[in-house]
Symmetry: C2
Subunit: 346 residues, 2 copies
Amino acid sequence: MEPTLSARDRSIFAAVVEEFVQTAEPVGSRQLTKRYGLGVSPATVRNVMADLEDLGFLAQPHTSAGRQPTERGYRYYVDHLMQAEPVGPTERQQLRQRLGPPEGAGIEELLAATCQALSVLAHQVGIAVAPRFEARVFRHIDFVRLRGSLVLVVLVSQSGVVHHRPVEAPEVEDQRDLDQMANYLNGLLVGLPLSRVRERILAEMASERALYDRLVQSALELGQRALGGARGEEGLYCGDPTPLLDQPEFSTAARMKELFEAFEKKGLLLRLLDQAAAAHGTRVIIGEEQGGLGLRGCSVVSTTYGCQGRVLGSLGVIGPTRMPYPRMVGLVEYTGRLLGEMMDHL
Amino acid sequence: MEPTLSARDRSIFAAVVEEFVQTAEPVGSRQLTKRYGLGVSPATVRNVMADLEDLGFLAQPHTSAGRQPTERGYRYYVDHLMQAEPVGPTERQQLRQRLGPPEGAGIEELLAATCQALSVLAHQVGIAVAPRFEARVFRHIDFVRLRGSLVLVVLVSQSGVVHHRPVEAPEVEDQRDLDQMANYLNGLLVGLPLSRVRERILAEMASERALYDRLVQSALELGQRALGGARGEEGLYCGDPTPLLDQPEFSTAARMKELFEAFEKKGLLLRLLDQAAAAHGTRVIIGEEQGGLGLRGCSVVSTTYGCQGRVLGSLGVIGPTRMPYPRMVGLVEYTGRLLGEMMDHL
DNA sequence: CGCTGGCACTCGGCCCCTGGGAGTGCTAAG
DNA sequence: CTTAGCACTCCCAGGGGCCGAGTGCCAGCG
């Protein structure tokens, strides 16, 4: 499928990509030979460019304009030509500082800070997803009577993520009973991955103990109800999108509007990143590859983070397809490692 | 300060405002007499308009264009000419439906749904602030050991808002001790407004009991630490801002960018609404009256909500200064009442 | 055989100009 | 005080022409 290019073709192609990424203008042959010491004449470059266009790697927005990479071209560049760029010391320091102060900061704040840092450093939109619900480990449950028969269920995972929802529990009157129920469930479930909590509850429900102890029975029922219900957009963090507005691809009102409308659909973003989290490692999604996400002309660079070897979630940046991929990959990967490190400490 | 206008002046002025709000185009004298049966000729209208311009209520964007209201003009209109428009039955139903399903929904979800509903119905941006931290009532505290000396403090208020943060607590080793400490604090603080929790803890610290019981002492210290640290933007909810993009005032890229940059400054929005919450009742802030908020050309209509007579927070809409104020005031007030009602039920 | 210089051609962007339309202010008459 | 008429102003959209950047192709050279 992928054609093989000569060394010269590749260096010219890489030059076109890099020049275009920098200037956002179609790249002409003359300009290219001037700025990159390619050692060949513009005419030669033109011939090569014509070949690259035939291959579908370059395109011209209109006749008699320079060339710019196609999405397929970026894909080739990302897969075969580029190398992740190491993050400079200044930026490392900035990142550490931004993610740094764990003063009263939980995972949520850490993830939000990470997105924000990515937004600023990348001049794109940083995004991150919290550890998936099912991947978390049960740590603690609590029932708090609010009013009437309304009980607030508070669920804490091992990593410190708190989840809560109100539930109707008309059968239990006393807060002390609720405390006992929570106690019982805590003993039963602590250390279990949330994905297996449900089956454990079901198993327990069938046991003798549940059949004879009304309180145990209520506890199990309440626990089950508390776990139900998928989280919609929960767990998605998104940095400040305004740096994107400085990119020329979003300089028109129509494109800007499209962009923001796409960003409102958090569910789609979440799915995109969640799916990236399944894979372990860095992914680059270029333009239309995302499918009908509405992020026309955008790419996503994402990677996974985790601690102690386990993948917890993913993070990345979204920006125009014309982005400095080597820098972005380097930045996202470094940030991912840093985030994992922070979580280890947390 | 406010000049008195004749009945005719007022009806012409109101017509100009309403026409401009609808069309977003400067209003001419001929057009006005045609669409509103004013019973006078265009020339008369021109004379009146010239007077209104002298008063600072109208302005023309350039010579030989129609007139549009100034911010001062809107202020006069809002204060003296308009009446809140009752919300139609269809919209009432829509609102109820959107705020309706309390299925596993806490206050957070309710507020988010409210903003979203306002955004959609008003074609502007709905915003809301949750009950202020200090106004809430202590209901429950819990300490959960996460790892090492890290303890997660979970704080539940009477209305079901959950607040949590990790805290270092090297002095307590055992989860059972933590439970006891939480128990003790719960007994001590339940039903107290959060604003008075701190003093209560300080008072207790000086008591005999604290001096001799290590656990009690730790509990009080931990409780104090858990309450410290103001949260920046927490409690602000914001609906989908994209409907605003359809308004002609934001049709240019530059204005759009300004708008989104202003919306990123959540702190400013929060302050604006918080300050509105202090007053009890509906407020209309027109254009520059907000001060350097960066929301140039925008107005805010806000009101307070609460249950059982107490003001809990505020909500409102942000939109272009050229907005249908009667409708907005009606909508925001109705939504505020509805929200209070929902919270009563919750 | 591949590279290079030259040349004609193409096309988008910018500036200028012009005509049309909407609206005003002024004045004089009812 | 109101109204009709009129001259004036100004914005805006559309058309034409110029300029520059860049291409494709061809012939010549190493």
